[in-house]
Symmetry: C2
């Protein structure tokens, strides 16, 4: 590997919840890095972060930050991506973007490596990383799509507060302490930082993630609908989602009903999922084993269990899908794409 | 009302989470009581409880406890009901049972007053109170059944720990303190007290409520399936449930997909629900208003919101249904039935 090509890599949003995970993964995966540039907003610039024993200073991200950069990983919000990614592309970088900015752009591939890595080559400089709740669902359902076809998906989510960023984690822990002490619980950020109404997340379930759209669904729900169709390459799949925030720190759980196009045997489905890349079957009712957010936290895989035939529809199947929303749901999926790009460009 | 008939009432399981709520409701509703007898296991006998300013001593429940009792409210577990309710009936009492013991017995009416109070008269001494997660769902869906017919229900629940009793609440609060302090979290009771494997509930979501059945569903899930058909009086309704415990103290939330038999207008459905007894419409996306467990706690009603047309199926409708599992889900539904019995026997 002495002749392995090394890459100049930038991480935009280096001080955020996802950026931190990306840096950790680049280190642990021993990503072939020549130079690592850590970028952030002006507010966080100057922060010092460790990478492979060396201290790096986070710099403010500007259009000129990307000179010489070959791979740029963005997770600093859609506005930052829109403002800076085109400059990075001009400088010759491939951008892997964790935000919603380009996901539904027809010229931007939306990639989950286990599902549609073949589409990466269609990029024009930007590759979009899907929404966290979408990634884990399509990773688990892809083998079913390939074998049986999927007609319909109805999903209800149980999403961790880390999906709303580090400040939302802090808020949830603070509220929990307030509630345990019998004090007034003061909501400050959730459900949506930029909206006026706040709700308690400690010991609660909030059926709003992101802003409401005109059709009564939230943006998070519509992301699951649109992104699933795009990633699976089938606009005919009916998808309905209800996205809910619950008091969990790391790990999204999903109750998924899927209607297949062909008849199935439950044992075949279990075998198929157990053998699929990136997916771990945890399904032993007698032993009370099923996926749990606390056990998925810190793991790169998607965990699937509670597999059972629908009681009404012969081609209906119920699943419980859990994954670490900051890893496979964000940082790990992005680094997987970066690793693919690196190998392709060796 | 000076000639109002007064009843001798027994509460079995008086020291439990539901029993406590029943006693509070009998007092606040000014239920026509001649004598109130508080009963429990031998372990809790001797406990002193207040009722209308008087101190009452809880007695051990035995077959002879029911002499002279006219209305007996049971919430001390299925085994206690099975052992004692037949004796109460022999002594002439009408039993309103909060446990699973008689719910699916064809000779026992399973009652949610807003849905099927007309069936009460068919009782042979025992009237069953449905499972908490079922009660709030059928209360919300009954007006839709009457107007449009219901073909199918797919529900995912977000259930509070109080549904597993006072000890489960204590466990969740203790685990939360342990986790916040960075200490090891020790599971002790949940998900099922009588089963060997325990899981952390603090900052987690556990997809197991009650024991697994041979078909891969839990008993809680099968309760929702069977009880919904019985209460709604329609065995043809397809019901599938995924029941999940989350770190909430009071208030079950439910993500419900329902497929109606006739086309509907969303505004008509909202109006219908807003006008239905026992149901409160909380549905204002622009104002970020929807039902929340923390707001439903302590309230007798079933709160419904997030109403939206399914994106794939024209007759599909999604709802978010929240209610206090100890009140409408248990104690309040039982006291409603008792009030009906009292009026019928005046």
């Amino acid at each position: 590997m002495s002749n392995q090509k090394l890459f100049n890599v930038a991480v935009v949003g280096a001080t955020g919840a996802v950026g931190e995970q990306i840096i950790g993964l680049l280190e642990r995966r021993n990503f072939p890095i020549a130079e690592l540039k850590l970028l952030s907003s002006a507010r966080s610039a100057g922060t010092k972060l460790k990478f492979k024993g060396k201290e790096l200073t986070v710099e403010e991200a500007t259009p000129d930050s990307f000179k010489g950069i070959e791979i740029a990983l963005f997770s600093a919000g859609g506005d930052v991506t829109k403002a800076l990614a085109p400059h990075a592309v001009e400088h010759g970088a491939v951008c892997i973007d964790n935000t919603n900015a380009y996901r539904m752009d027809p010229d931007t591939p939306l990639i989950v490596p286990e599902v549609n890595i073949d589409k990466v080559s269609e990029h024009r400089g930007i590759i979009a990383n899907p929404n966290c709740s979408t990634i884990q669902m399509v990773t688990a359902l892809k083998p079913l799509q390939d074998r049986y076809g999927i007609a319909r998906i109805i999903v209800s989510t149980y999403q961790a507060v880390s999906g709303a960023g580090s400040r939302a984690i802090d808020e949830m822990l603070r509220q929990t302490r307030e509630a345990l002490a019998g004090n007034e619980v003061v909501p400050d950020i959730l459900p949506v930082g930029s909206l006026p109404v706040k709700h308690q997340i400690a010991f609660n379930a909030i059926p709003q993630i992101d802003k409401f759209q005109d059709n009564g669904y939230t943006l998070e729900e519509m992301k699951m609908v649109r992104e699933t169709k795009k990633i699976m390459g089938d606009e005919s799949i009916d998808v309905t989602a209800t996205c809910v925030r619950i008091p969990v720190v790391y790990g999204h759980s999903e109750s998924v009903y899927v209607e297949l196009k062909q008849d199935y045997e439950l044992e075949d489905v279990k075998k198929l999922i157990a053998e699929s890349p990136g997916v771990v079957l945890v399904d032993d009712p007698a032993g009370q084993r099923y996926p749990l957010a606390t056990e998925a936290a810190g793991q790169p895989d998607v965990f699937v269990g509670r597999l059972r035939r629908d009681l009404g529809h012969a081609r209906g199947l119920n699943l419980w899908i859990v994954s670490d929303n900051l890893l496979k749901g964000a940082a790990w999926n992005a680094v997987q794409i970066a690793e693919y790009i690196a190998i392709e460009n060796e």
